[in-house]
């Protein structure tokens, strides 16, 4: 390890203590993963095997008029976004060892995660739009 890197390590407890998360992060990654596998099998089966695979406004509108489908889609959005961003988070923890970069990337991740979740929620719960 270069001296620079070593210094960064001794200076920064922050970089040492963020990143890979703890026992619960590890557990949630597995639980959400399991859920997503189930959800995605259903999603794919319904869209492409039972349905024609054609996604038109009417098809979606029909589906989103059902509150159960809204719940299903919200669960999908929540688990997938969490699982994906937690995964990127861990990858960053492995490869980005400098304070400033870690801070920048993590801020960007949190921000974009919140924005994407908001956007997805608006799409699902806000439907139909006037």
């Amino acid at each position: 390890m270069s001296d620079e890197k070593k210094q960064e390590h001794t200076q920064s407890m922050w970089v040492r203590n963020t990143g890979t998360g703890g026992s619960r992060t590890w557990l949630f990654q597995r639980l959400t993963g399991l859920f997503i596998v189930l959800i995605i099998l259903l999603h794919f089966g319904i869209n492409h095997l039972i349905g024609t695979g054609e996604v038109t406004y009417d098809v979606v509108a029909n589906r989103l008029s059902n509150p159960l489908w809204k719940c299903f889609d919200m669960a999908f959005l929540t688990f997938a976004l969490y699982h994906g961003f937690a995964g990127v988070w861990v990858v960053v923890a492995d490869y980005v060892q400098t304070n400033s970069w870690r801070l920048a990337i993590y801020s960007a991740l949190i921000l974009s995660g919140i924005l994407l979740y908001a956007l997805g929620t608006i799409t699902i719960l806000g439907f139909p739009f006037k």
């Binding site: 040492r16 992060t25 861990v90």
Partner: protein, 231 residues
């Protein structure tokens, strides 16, 4: 006897700016250990070749090095296991000292960080502390680790971040945490439960493949993860 071609990574900190390869040819039987070939080179061809070894019988852990891309013990690896063209390099990811010798300070630092000793403060019984065979079985494999550092040096998580406590130290933690006679389970679990602990293990299996003692290290780390989740 057959001719074995060796490509050995050399580095002399007094002269070289970066490591380079040098070629040697050694006459050896298929059953000759790679370590003996290195001796042959050192004793009869180039006395400056530096490597560690002690027991010659796969029990001290000194002679771990990368042979044809895989971390192995030079004394345990026979010529017939690796072929006629043998590439020998020092263990990856540790600071290079000279030729095949790396600095293992970091490795031992991690090893000491998990309290690698038996803790039991209850008064000793008249005879030994009884251990049932099933309980011993849990830690039998883990207790046979010879601290050669092959596993830690083979781990991509360690390559990326050598603050990671690493498979070897985690295995040692497992060995004491799952020892039914030991009483410092909580302390040790707290010591490894950091962002540089078992959560950096991504179930890659390089450690299992590298271990010269065939220890199921990945499994030990997985058990630690469950234990830390109270599962």
């Amino acid at each position: 006897m057959q001719k074995i071609r060796f490509r050995i990574k050399r580095f002399n900190p007094a002269k070289d700016r970066r490591p380079h390869f040098e070629d040697f040819t050694v006459e050896a039987e298929p059953e000759t250990p790679v370590l003996d070939c290195l001796h042959e080179i050192k004793w009869h061809q180039d006395g400056t070749l530096a490597f560690r070894r002690s027991c010659g019988h796969a029990i001290c852990g000194s002679c771990a090095m990368t042979i044809n891309g895989q971390n192995r013990l030079a004394c345990q690896t026979l010529v017939k296991n690796v072929g006629k063209n043998i590439i020998v390099e020092p263990l990856r990811s540790f600071p290079l000292e000279k030729d095949l010798i790396v600095n293992l300070d970091r490795f031992y630092e991690r090893f000491y960080s998990i309290m690698p000793y038996f803790v039991n403060n209850s008064p000793p019984p008249d005879t030994e502390r009884i251990q049932w065979p099933e309980d011993q079985e849990l830690i039998d494999e883990a207790a046979s680790c010879i601290l050669c550092a092959s596993c830690t040096s083979s781990c991509p998580s360690f390559w990326a971040d050598d603050d990671y406590i690493g498979p070897s130290a985690l295995l040692k933690a497992y060995r004491f945490i799952f020892d039914t006679r030991d009483q410092a389970q909580k302390e040790r679990l707290a010591l490894i439960n950091t962002s540089k602990g078992p959560w950096k293990c991504h179930t890659i299996f390089n450690c299992n493949e590298a271990c010269p003692k065939d220890i199921d290290i990945t499994n030990a780390i997985a058990r630690l993860k469950l234990k830390l989740n109270d599962l």
